[in-house]
Symmetry: C2
Subunit: 348 residues, 2 copies
Amino acid sequence: MLLVSTSGRRVTIHDVARNAGVSITTVSHALNGKGVVAAATRKRVVDAAATLGYSADAIARGLRSNRLGILGLVIRPLDTLDSYLPVGVDYFVRFAGAAAVAALDRGFGLMLVRDPTTGSVPGIALAVDGFIISDPVGNDPVIGLLKRNGIPLVTVGRDVDRPDFTDWIGTGTGADSTEVFAHLLDRGAQRVALVAGTDANAWNADSEIAYRSWCAGRGQEAIVYREDERSGESGGRMVADVMLDSGEPVPDGIYCLTGRHASGLQARLREAGLTVPGDVMIVAGSDSEQTRSSRPTITSVDLSPEATATAAVNFLLSRLDGDARSGPPSVKNVLRARESTNRPLVDS
Amino acid sequence: MLLVSTSGRRVTIHDVARNAGVSITTVSHALNGKGVVAAATRKRVVDAAATLGYSADAIARGLRSNRLGILGLVIRPLDTLDSYLPVGVDYFVRFAGAAAVAALDRGFGLMLVRDPTTGSVPGIALAVDGFIISDPVGNDPVIGLLKRNGIPLVTVGRDVDRPDFTDWIGTGTGADSTEVFAHLLDRGAQRVALVAGTDANAWNADSEIAYRSWCAGRGQEAIVYREDERSGESGGRMVADVMLDSGEPVPDGIYCLTGRHASGLQARLREAGLTVPGDVMIVAGSDSEQTRSSRPTITSVDLSPEATATAAVNFLLSRLDGDARSGPPSVKNVLRARESTNRPLVDS
DNA sequence: TTCCTCGCCCAAAACGTTTTGTTCCGCTAG
DNA sequence: CTAGCGGAACAAAACGTTTTGGGCGAGGAA
């Protein structure tokens, strides 16, 4: 019934203890439900804390218990850019936003970190409770750094050169590819090509593996193009030019992993007089603004960034809780059929 | 010359002290350049720290010095969404990304925080060193909360109902508007309308103020439409319908603040038989994927999120350093002229 | 010699928690 | 009556820093 605020100072556990007439130990126990405290005492403490507006200092708590309440997020594809230009923007902002929300909902903050292996890491980056690495590159040095510092981590998409590392969330790349090929086949495609990116990540690698195995199964020769992810629509146009100039007929089904590439590719092919979906059907591996607003609109795999991000956060938190060996969740993506493959189905 | 690592434990300042044969005080001083330590001693300490791979624990440091090394970022427009769907996505991801980079470059981490006034704030949110609030709403409760807790903050766009708060970065809204109107006028527009959003933020408010004052100066009646930011392209189409059904002639120049609205608006007007830029010229107040890929492409104000974000981070950090009264920086945006206003200039 | 100053270094206090180990007390079993 | 036990509370240690307030010795001025 005395001092409510010791002047401008932050209200600490000591203030609560004094107001409730108990020791700080009891306050801590009462508030965290840890030790054994009498019901009446607990109530007194809780009330005092409420009227004082007390909440434990996250830093002090972090020091003692080695838990800061922050998750780190590294989006690898963004690291390769000089500035955070919109590349796969659409996907990644939704991913980051959803991850932030999921983390907040679980009482954690989410910290965006740029490649922590370069230059001087702000010490704080190594103080977070755990990391989510989106689309690691092969043998990713970030993973090495974190492991060396004993910081738990989870990746979205596996590290292709680290087969022993299993704490990754699959985004169903293989299944997606299979579904895409079936979709094209059902609509009469005879010669299907793959346009992949050049980053050494699992998405590119696994898509190509799935494609080649599908080709092998059908006795079709594999036609693979690779184009830098960062080249955007103009990169897609360049791939189209290569197709047109090759002397070979242009494939009648194209699975183009990057949305921006798909958009440029389609535009160039149409300029060259081909029709979509009449002469060529196009499917993008990543839904984006471009695939939705191109004319014709482009059939795409919706990578469901929200679901993936939420799954990643939950997976990481379960690891942090020591729920050691629960397997990684798997996220189901959905194929959004649009005009670029709008052909009647054929009997097989 | 002895123990390099006390087993699996984290290497602390004590380890360095022991290895260098000095006290922890001296280590701290030597490493932080604080007290006065002999050159030879400093070298010994630095070497020991290097070989041990020591870096001060950010949490412990934070506890002692009340500086965590983290900046919080709240993007208000995203808070009003249920899920982080792409609204002005383009702008905000670039903003968040650039802010993260700028913060990292200055040795700080950047933490994404969703509206900290709702529900239970993860305590960590109130432990950060300072906040950047993007596009606060009128009399924003987030600002209230942070001020109450004595947490420094800076906003991007002013709080329209908090005239006494001056630590905000202007994104040149007024100047942008003026430039847009001049652009339309130079190309022969006679009746210019404004399509604003409904959020109670400075962008909407100041744009309308600039518009009305411009109208007053020319003796033109003000034609203002308002449409919810979240309605996207279909919202733009609805505005177009209102224009078409009004009985009045459709304006021959439209300044539409939101890129998605502009895209839908243009599409609907063209469906109704109007030509762009022949019958109507359209300018968007926020460059985005939509404005770039619409047919025809839409002239837009590039809000230069990277520059704004960097400025915001620097401004906040200068406030944290106590460089108290340096005025807020102002960022210059640039008008990207595209097809939607591609008309010959007229003499005035 | 004595006193002061100054350069260099260190022990200890603080930061606000959580956790460990202890004390106190009343009750029950022997 | 005594030993043992368990509920309730607390004092103190610990977390890893930074900062405060000396302490010590060498050199210079008196």
